[in-house]
Amino acid sequence: MEGIKIGGGVDMINTKDLDPNFKYEVVKEHGGTNIMRCFACGTCTAGCPVRAIDDRYNPRKIIRMVLLGMKERVLKSDFIWLCSTCYTCYDRCPQDVRLSDIMTALKNIAVREGYIHPSFKEQAKLVGTFGRLYEVEDFDNKKRGKMGLPPVKKTFDDVTKIIKDTKLGEMIK
């Protein structure tokens, strides 16, 4: 799947490995509609707080990879999970590409293709079990009571049901 190394260690892309329909798949996904508007100006990457720290995450490059059809490399990557959802690129993009939503769309597709980041899987399991990211124990409600705060519910059957009904349960197994 990796391209052939050419001078200077740059990866050459092999067109045989590309899926030209990947971009249309992203367009159809919730939040992915505007991806083909990108004219690669780089405003997203310039203002990205994650990119400023780690150049594995480069929003302009990710969009380009999708448009080129590098489906497997994008979906299998660790970088799509690095968006901190700060929406800086989203608000500044001159083409209204809606990048934060595209990153969500890519992650959602990746999950369906079997690539799920363990951290998000864990979060979804907790939410599916307790209706919240955290388990509320009797201790917590006791502590809340001492502070004069009302108790909170420990589980939510209807939230657990939503997780099952929307197939999310299958995805996080």
Binding site: T85, I116, F120
Partner: protein, 298 residues
């Protein structure tokens, strides 16, 4: 003014000082909070896995408020953005609304338009109003110097927030801090994200993001950083010691929730504002407030 209080996941367990101070402040100035037992996760934690499921989660919560005819007051920035986004998309897109309502019908809920969602700080600024807030101040915090951290989802995406603040140059939180009489100090790279959303993905990047903010705000001599989001607070307060030891730096910077400082200015008892639960203790600042000192010229 009555609102259904939406706590989200983190606050009832890890941000009780935020909740307590917000409730105390609301009670003092006459905002009524109603607790709705059914409120659960807003949907943000599952959005990366399935945006559609996140939408159903958000719609479920809005439906619960709608049954009681209440608008929602949020305390967490992420809850604010996910609920507001769902509310906007569902009210504008009939097809999506029908799809989401199909799911909700299985748990006997129905999303209906008309519920307003606002963050507590925005309610104080916009609905309660700066002038009225000023009249409520009993104790001038003029000896204290703060910096404000807004948090990304408090401002962005801007299409969700009706232009109540400028996401590139925000001022509303500064203004509600300044109303207490305290000085507010601006700082470099104010819009910097806390990194909280990727703490579980790449702790290293996330902590470096938080470190940048702590470096920038402590370049000035401030008494505390003021936040309005539990995620941001976890990054700057709960993880401050970790950042200090990892990068061999020293901050010792209290990170306070806005209602904690507003509560002080309203003359509320410190004991009812949860300072005990702030990880970096605010004792020095509280002492300074008691003993008086030089007032900042602002």
């Amino acid at each position: 003014m009555r609102y259904a209080l939406f706590l989200g996941c983190t606050i009832p367990v890890r941000g009780q000082h935020y909740e307590l101070s917000a409730r105390e402040v609301a009670k003092t100035i006459g905002l009524e909070f109603i607790d709705l037992e059914g409120f659960a996760c807003c949907g943000f934690p599952v959005k990366s896995i399935s945006a559609e499921t996140a939408m159903v989660f958000a719609a479920r919560n809005i439906a619960i408020a709608s049954e009681k005819g209440l608008d929602i007051c949020t305390l967490c920035n992420a809850c604010t953005s996910v609920l507001t986004e769902a509310n906007k998309e569902l009210s504008e897109n009939r097809e999506l609304r029908e799809k989401v309502n199909d799911e909700l019908s299985k748990i006997d809920k129905e999303y209906k338009t008309g519920v307003k969602i606002k963050h507590f700080a925005r309610i104080l600024y916009e609905d309660f109003g700066l002038d009225k807030l000023k009249e409520e101040i009993k104790k001038d915090l003029g000896t204290l110097n703060f910096s404000a951290h807004y948090g990304c989802h408090y401002l962005r995406p801007k299409e969700l927030y009706d232009g109540f603040d400028d996401p590139e140059n925000p001022t509303t939180l500064d203004k509600i801090v300044r109303v207490t009489g305290a000085n507010v100090t601006d700082y470099k790279n104010k819009l910097q994200c806390c990194g909280g959303a990727i703490l579980g993905v790449e702790e290293d990047i996330s902590l470096k993001m938080a470190k940048e903010k702590l470096d920038n705000v402590t370049a000035n001599n401030i008494d505390a950083l003021v936040t309005v989001c539990p995620f941001c607070s976890i990054m700057y307060d709960d993880n401050q010691r970790k950042i200090e030891s990892k990068f061999n730096v020293k901050y010792d910077l209290p990170v306070l929730y806005y209602p904690q400082i507003l509560g002080l200015a309203l003359g509320l008892d410190q004991k009812n504002l949860g300072f005990r639960l702030n990880k970096v203790k605010a004792n020095k600042l509280l002492e300074k407030l008691e003993t008086g000192g030089m007032k900042y010229d602002s």
